[in-house]
């Protein structure tokens, strides 16, 4: 296990290095010079050249890359071409919205989906088991922004219980207002996420319920609860954790649509603005931070799967193939 951990850590670092190269190259392939964002339409070639020199986009790519890496090493994410503000603090302030939004939605979704998915599988012959399946079937088909629109229309515009969008200017210094403005976005993401999670939990549970080892355990006199706890849970959780990792990772930045519906100043909307303005440092900074987050989530998910399923351990500690 220690050896696997070490290998996995090395690959985490290598992936991050690879990712930053890919990121850098990909961004340079986008059309349009970033200097265009700095200069007015119809600027003279001299003005454009001066702008390129000012932001360093006239230097050779390897030099730009090492410069960026040097900045990263000292914890500096660069300076926005457009606003001339440092990217790091801006990312941090956006994370204050995105991380609570993502985590709260994720936790809520898991709390709903795991019991619901288990019941949907175990009680699939009852009306409420079938109803759970049907509701989740419906839920994965609902576009997240449409659900947001409906929730706003019902709970904000008609009932007036919660704000229709926006985030307090002072952020979390007004905790009540901040939480109130996150309730509908959190519920929106959690509902959509739990609908798809229920399906995965249900299918993983069905696999376990039909398995020979569960029947054997029952035949040997184990109670259903004990057999599920000792054998079922472990086996069912391996594929579910894999899906959970992907869901959490994609919500981190994928919340951009929900952020747009509710006009939240999150990481996704920062990236969207950065892309529209060809603001390389902003795009690079946001994508680097979120790639790091996604890789860490994948690392945690893999580790958790190894701990739960010993069969996977042998395969990745080398040679067992």
């Amino acid at each position: 296990m220690a050896r696997y951990l070490l290998r996995r850590l090395v690959f985490l670092v290598v992936s991050l290095a690879l990712a930053s190269v890919v990121l850098f190259v990909l961004l340079r392939m986008l059309p349009g010079d970033p200097a265009n964002a700095l200069t007015a339409v119809g600027a003279s070639p001299e003005q454009i050249a001066a702008a390129r020199h000012a932001i360093g986009s006239d230097k050779p790519l390897p030099e730009q890359f090492t410069h960026w890496l040097g900045q990263l090493a000292s914890g500096d994410l660069g300076t926005s071409f457009v606003s001339s503000l440092p990217v790091g603090p801006e990312v941090a302030s956006r994370l204050n919205v995105t991380v609570p939004l993502t985590l709260a939605a994720f936790v809520l979704a898991v709390l709903v989906a795991v019991p619901a998915g288990f019941v949907a599988a175990h009680k699939r012959h009852t009306w409420y088991g079938a109803l759970l399946s049907a509701v989740s079937q419906l839920g994965i088909a609902v576009p997240v922004f449409w659900l947001g629109m409906i929730l706003i229309a019902v709970f904000a515009l008609n009932a007036g219980w919660l704000p229709a969008g926006g985030f307090p200017q002072d952020g979390w210094s007004e905790p009540g207002d901040a939480i109130r403005s996150l309730v509908l976005p959190v519920v929106t993401i959690a509902l959509v996420m739990s609908a798809s999670l229920i399906r995965y939990v249900r299918s993983a549970t069905l696999d376990v319920l039909d398995s020979d080892y569960l029947r054997t355990a029952r035949a040997l006199g184990s109670s259903f609860g004990r057999a599920m706890w000792r054998h079922g849970l472990r086996n069912a959780s391996v594929p579910v954790i894999s899906v959970l990792g992907i869901e959490l990772a994609s919500t981190l930045l994928g919340a951009v649509v929900v952020e747009s519906v509710y006009a939240l100043p999150g990481l996704g909307s920062m990236l969207a603005t950065g892309i529209a303005q060809h603001d390389y440092p902003v795009i690079q900074g946001v994508l680097f931070v979120s790639t790091l987050g996604v890789l860490l989530i994948g690392f945690a998910a893999d580790l958790l799967q190894r701990i739960i399923d010993p069969r996977l351990r042998g395969r990745l500690s080398g040679g067992a193939r």
């Binding site: 576009p143 951009v256 990236l271």
Partner: protein, 292 residues
Amino acid sequence: MIPADTLEAARPEGAPQGGRRARVSATLVVGSVLAGLIALLAVVSLFWLPYPADDTSGGRLAGPGGGHLLGTDKLGRDLFTQVMTGSRIAVEAGLGSVLIAATIGIALGVLAAFAQGWFDDTLSAFLDILIAFPTLLLAMLIVAARSATLGSAVLAIGLAQSAVVARLARILVKRVLTQDYITAARISGTSWPRIVLGHVLPNIWPTLVVNLALQFGLAVLAEAGLSYLGLGAPPPNASWGRMLQEAQATFTTAPAGALAPGVLLVLLVVGVNLVADGLRETLDPATGRRRS
């Protein structure tokens, strides 16, 4: 879903095959009817539309009725005409994306699972990085690099989904490879290509088909999301996402425009998912064995 499970519950243990066949077709039929209706709208829209796309003779924000089945939007365009065009865009987006995702994803996934040591690790790390780009954001990058067209959106969604498909395929193949029948096949001298075709793919593809159907739904949803953000097919192509975005401001005064595209979207995705479930029950050899 409900009729299928009700029938399943009603079937006594050891009932003849006929009962099982009826149960399978219930899910399949409901799904096919739902998805088929939208597909029909899409096909008909190729030949006939109630009004030209730029016809504004109905007046602004007219309610349903009076020659306009669903009423008109804020520019006076017929909503049903737009909904029909939208269904064509949705079906195209779903099919195109899934085709790209399946081709690239399954190939990469099988390769990664079979590869040894550092190659597998590198491929997996690469997949992790690809997955690090959520579909919508990869799509935004590609749309920014090319232009806001349906093709850009489909390409982006397909590429992003291929990473997810590849990762799933890799996990599924790895699980199959730990099974004793693979060891037995290897010992008896079966070549790796034959093992992939004869043992691995038959065992993973029911799960993959279900996932690809989910990806179809997700692709339709992602395209709608892109259009909602103004990054999908440009006007006058009325994508459902764009329609919903335009109708958001008038949700309370003219709900038809904010409801109809959403309802159809949900029906299409539910329909395809039900078809997938029906297919899974029919195709999955393990399910068949354990239920007979």
